[in-house]
């Protein structure tokens, strides 16, 4: 008890200091008063001091060159990495050829049959429609390329994830080691994973698949471990009490009990693999992502949309089908025999359709069945550019908004951050991070930001940071407002839910297409894409947090005659504080991921450096930018780290 152990001096402190936040800040101020004059005397410069920078360009370039020179001769490549690379290429190629051989009719029939067995009739129809739409948009071959790459990556991710998850689920020590690593991997932007694999494997399909695996395996591992650890203790005790061996216990109880988490892990892995497979077009993945990437590079919104729609359709179909498969866990599935018979029918029908397609000599999507959307879309965009970009009376045009946002928000923010002395920025980070989290998270955050300075990318990092801050501010204002509205109005929430569902499943890359159409290129569109991407997660977490507030507490407030505003302010918001903090954390992480990708549409800063490094083969620049992105991600996550870890990534 605090009252029993704390001696009287505590009472002598002025009232302000009794608050823990005030005490932390005071301590920080004291530390700063000692350290800042020292630092300032040594390295007095506004920006990051040269003396504290380590130039990695030389060694990194040499490493890159060495790898390129030895890729065909060094035993490490010949006997290990080379085999991996070849195996990946072989597998992707095999799946791709299989998909092409099955023909469009066969693939559609097989996918529909699978969706029917896993998720029911409605989703089966949706699946069929989605695949046919991919063909109709003239994107059949790229869709198959993306699917082939994803299939291989998902299989590998699941294998890796389940092995790691089993290890962490069964051994407490491994769990302690793996958990922070997996947690951190989940908050890093997808972009940061691209450069290291390119360094080792070069640009191409193997690099794309491996980057996807590294990105998509952690959720599988985390959820597997979570499922194994979360099993009902009494069930396991009952299993023990019947004399089960360790193996029986694992196979008949622990794994079946974790089925829900395993399927959720599969769902998340598939979604993240799709997201990454699209982004990996930057490092040679090919397929739909590549079409979008090429189209965006020439600001051809129509072509980008034609490739973007299949991505969205794939995402929605994959998400719904795997999620539905997970939901049917507890359901009785009738008699086993009927079930199996239906499955047999489904397989038979799919094979029959595929064979019929082959016999009809039409494995490829017939050219006459495609709808050219690019031209009309480009016309529409052209019209928009002409009429909506600027000069619309009273409200101004979209380009005007973007320009104003850049001039009035982004520029001052960036210049302000870059104008501050470097130690002031670090101090600011500490002052924000410590009160929210622990001294540990604050220290990690400060060190991570300092690392960007050491890497010599202080200025671009602050530029990226300014975009992130602006986007997060907008996201939170919109997200909290919408979240509160959704939590209070049932009808509004019902309307909102399907929208959020779709938005949350779309890969990050796709968001760039509409913002380029609306705002052109630059930093403002990157911020807009980030806001749109992060918004659904923030809205959802906020609304859920507010709705899950203890009804008894709310009822008692109402019984005392609290107005709705009082209920919200005095009961719901304080009780939902953990959820709100989580929403902030998610918002920040998701925003960073897209702001970085915004480098592709003129966002500049770290994202541009990374893309530039990849495009020009200047790995040193790219890798340094990638490392800085990692540091920035770490910093932003730790600053907003609520005490309890999230269990699920929002998107």
């Amino acid at each position: 008890m605090a009252t029993a152990t704390a001696p009287t001096p505590r009472a002598a402190l002025p009232g302000v200091l009794r608050h823990p936040v005030a005490r932390k800040l005071l301590l920080l101020a004291a530390a700063a008063a000692v350290l800042v004059p020292l630092a300032d005397a040594h390295w007095s410069s506004g920006t990051w001091p040269k003396a504290l920078t380590v130039d990695l360009t030389g060694p990194l370039t040499r490493t890159g060159d060495w790898i390129i020179d030895h890729r065909d001769s060094h035993p490490l490549f010949l006997h290990f990495l080379g085999h991996i690379s070849n195996a990946v290429v072989f597998c992707v190629r095999a799946v791709y050829l299989l998909l092409l051989a099955a023909g469009w009719a066969g693939v559609t029939a097989a996918a529909t049959a699978l969706a029917w067995r896993a998720a029911g009739k409605r989703l089966a129809l949706g699946t069929a429609a989605a695949f046919l739409a991919c063909g109709a948009l003239g994107m059949w071959v790229p869709t198959m390329q993306t699917l082939a790459l994803m299939a291989v990556a998902v299989l590998a991710s699941v294998a890796v994830g389940v092995v790691l998850g089993l290890a962490a689920g069964l051994s407490a020590r491994l769990d302690r080691v793996l958990r922070p690593v997996l947690d951190t991997m989940q908050v890093l932007p997808a972009f940061a994973y691209l450069l290291p694999v390119v360094l080792v494997f070069g640009i191409g399909v193997p690099a794309a698949v491996l980057a996807t695996v590294v990105y998509a395996a952690p959720p599988m591992a985390r959820l597997t471990a979570l499922g194994l650890r979360g099993a009902d203790k009494e069930v396991l005790e009952a299993v023990d009490s019947l004399g089960a061996t360790a193996r029986q216990r694992l196979l008949t109880a622990r794994i079946p009990l974790a089925r829900r988490e395993l399927l959720l892990g599969l769902n998340q892995t598939i979604m993240m693999a799709l997201s990454m497979a699209v982004i990996a077009s930057v490092i040679g993945a090919g397929g739909l992502g590549d079409r979008v990437y090429q189209a965006l590079a020439s600001v051809d919104v129509g072509a980008a949309l034609a490739a973007g729609i299949p991505i969205v359709l794939l995402a929605v179909v994959l998400d719904r089908v795997t999620a539905a498969a997970g939901d049917t866990t507890g359901r009785t599935t009738g008699t086993g025999r009927g079930h199996r018979a239906y499955t047999a029918y489904a397989v038979g029908a799919a094979v029959a359709v595929a064979v019929a397609g082959r016999l009809a000599g039409r494995p490829d999507w017939p050219g006459s069945w495609t709808v050219a959307v690019a031209a009309p879309v480009n016309d529409a965009v052209g019209w928009m550019t002409g009429h909506l970009y600027s000069g619309v009376p009273v409200i101004g045009g979209t380009a005007d908004w973007a320009g104003r946002f850049t001039t009035w928000v982004l520029d001052p923010l960036r210049d302000g951050l870059q104008g501050l002395p470097w130690w002031a920025v670090l101090l600011l980070v500490a002052a924000v991070a410590w009160p929210i989290g622990t001294w540990r998270t604050a220290l990690t955050a400060v060190l991570a930001l300092a690392a960007t300075g050491v890497l010599g990318v202080w200025e671009p990092s602050l530029d990226t940071l300014s975009q992130v801050l602006a986007a997060v501010a907008v996201t939170l204002v919109l997200g909290f407002a919408t979240g509160v509205a959704a939590a209070r109005g049932d009808r509004f929430e019902r309307l909102l839910r399907p929208v959020l569902d779709v938005f949350q499943t779309m890969p990050q890359f796709v968001y760039l297409i509409p913002v380029v159409a609306l705002f052109g290129v630059g930093r403002a569109p990157a911020v807009a894409a980030a806001v749109v991407y992060a918004l659904p997660a923030v809205v959802r977490i906020t609304a859920q947090g507010l709705r899950q507030v203890d009804p008894a507490a709310l009822e008692s407030a109402r019984s005392l005659g609290a107005t709705p505003a009082q209920q919200l302010r005095q009961v719901q918001l304080p009780l939902a504080r953990p959820a709100l903090l989580l929403a902030v954390n998610q918002g920040v992480v998701l925003v960073l991921a897209v702001v970085v990708i915004g480098g592709l549409v003129g966002g500049g800063a770290l994202g541009y450096d990374a893309v530039f490094g990849l495009a020009q083969g200047d790995l040193a620049t790219g890798l340094v930018a990638g490392a800085a992105i990692v540091c920035l991600g770490l910093m932003l996550d730790r600053v907003t780290q609520p005490t309890e870890r999230r269990t699920k990534k929002g998107a």
Binding site: D232, E234, V239, S241, L242, G243, A244
Partner: protein, 373 residues
């Protein structure tokens, strides 16, 4: 193993949670400390403290105590689901703590099966497969284990529900599945860990009667953990009452109610309707004069409330007759004394070994009534 070997024999059992738990039972000074002092001195919690008892073949042995008294830990120590800290446990004379993994697994598979408070069913399996699970663990073939499980499912009254899943059953039905799962492996002892605490009162009574019926039909040894005194009195042949890890009293329901060992037990049993637990053997006085030849006859196991009925009908003291011999008589004063709690019990349960399940008021209600008429 002879008929007189206890099924479980527990001597000086300790279970201490915390750092370096082993030193607590070994050190006489530490082991004498009250729980709060022990925790502040060593950081350890003693859940079970120096407990000794025997479970006899065929009896229902109830361990009763409030939450936190260590009773659930105690029952888990019996099959080492929780590893005891000190003491000995013997099952049919075999040292449980000395068993290796294989032997221990044998014990759990064939000799002691447990029923859990929250059922511990596997949600992804049907009722039938849940019941057959213990047999599956033992490696019994699919067809045979299903056939055997079907029989047990019928025995606990769940026919027609074999293909349902636990999620589709009510609490009482789920616990019947839990009971059937334990019965399916045909164990020597059934261990119940507060099996009915999570059930509604009416369902609880049904389930208690189910256990009474099973015990009457099969005579299986049972160790029953409960925090509910009326359940303990209803089911138990003998009751061990626990407090803070120690057994404060061990005896028949009649002994516990009739002569509480200390104030704690007295407080505990204060509201028990004594006339339904105490027997005429406790309440009787020696027959004087011609009393031994007249009046209604009652067996010594008849409860006081049954005697009241008999005495009220006859309007005369009733005789307590065992195998034709008159042991004594009960009259108005004696019976009223028991009800009021003013009559000091002189020789409660002098030979508890003879005690069958006769204190179960329901099923013994009819026999004495016949003798009266």
């Amino acid at each position: 193993m002879s008929a007189t070997t206890p099924v479980f024999s527990v001597q000086g059992l300790w279970k201490v949670f915390g750092p370096k738990a082993g030193r607590v039972p070994a050190d006489p000074e530490l082991s004498a400390l009250p729980p709060a002092d022990l925790r502040s001195r060593t950081g350890c919690t003693a859940a079970v403290r120096d407990v000794s008892f025997d479970v006899r073949r065929g009896e229902v042995f109830v361990v009763m105590g409030l939450s936190g008294s260590g009773k659930s830990t105690l029952v888990r120590c019996l099959t080492r689901l929780i590893e005891p800290t000190a003491g000995t446990i013997a099952v049919d004379g075999e040292d449980v703590r000395a068993m290796d993994r294989t032997r221990l697994r044998e014990l759990r598979r064939h000799r002691a099966a447990m029923v859990f408070q929250h059922f511990g069913l596997l949600p992804h399996r049907t009722v039938l497969d849940n019941v057959a699970y213990g047999l599956e663990i033992q490696g019994v073939g699919r067809a045979e284990r299903r056939a055997r499980a079907a029989g047990v499912v019928a025995k606990v009254g769940l026919e027609g529900m074999e293909q349902r899943r636990p999620g589709q059953l009510s609490g009482g039905q789920r616990q019947r599945v839990g009971l059937a799962r334990a019965l399916a492996v045909d164990p020597e002892v059934l261990l119940f860990d507060e099996p009915f605490s999570a059930l509604d009162p009416l369902i609880r009574r049904d389930m208690q009667e189910e256990v009474v019926r099973l015990h009457r039909e099969e005579g299986r040894t049972m160790v029953f953990i409960t925090h509910d005194l009326s359940e303990a009195l209803k089911l138990g042949d003998r009751i061990a009452l626990m407090r803070d890890g120690r057994v404060v009293q061990l005896g028949t329901p009649e002994e516990i109610v009739g002569s509480p060992a200390d104030d704690y037990v007295r407080e505990f049993v204060r509201d028990v309707p004594r006339e339904q637990v105490l027997t005429v053997r406790t309440a009787m006085r020696p027959a004087s004069g011609d009393e031994a030849g007249t009046g209604p006859a009652l067996p010594p196991t008849a409860t006081v409330s049954q005697a009241i009925v008999a005495v009220a009908r006859a309007g005369a003291p009733a005789r307590v007759v065992d195998r034709g011999r008159c042991l004594g008589v009960v009259d108005h004063e004696r019976l009223l004394g028991v009800v009021a709690g003013t009559e000091p019990a002189e020789n409660p349960g002098e030979n508890p070994g003879e005690h069958p399940a006769g204190n179960l008021a329901e099923n013994s209600a009819e026999e004495p009534a016949k003798e009266v008429v």
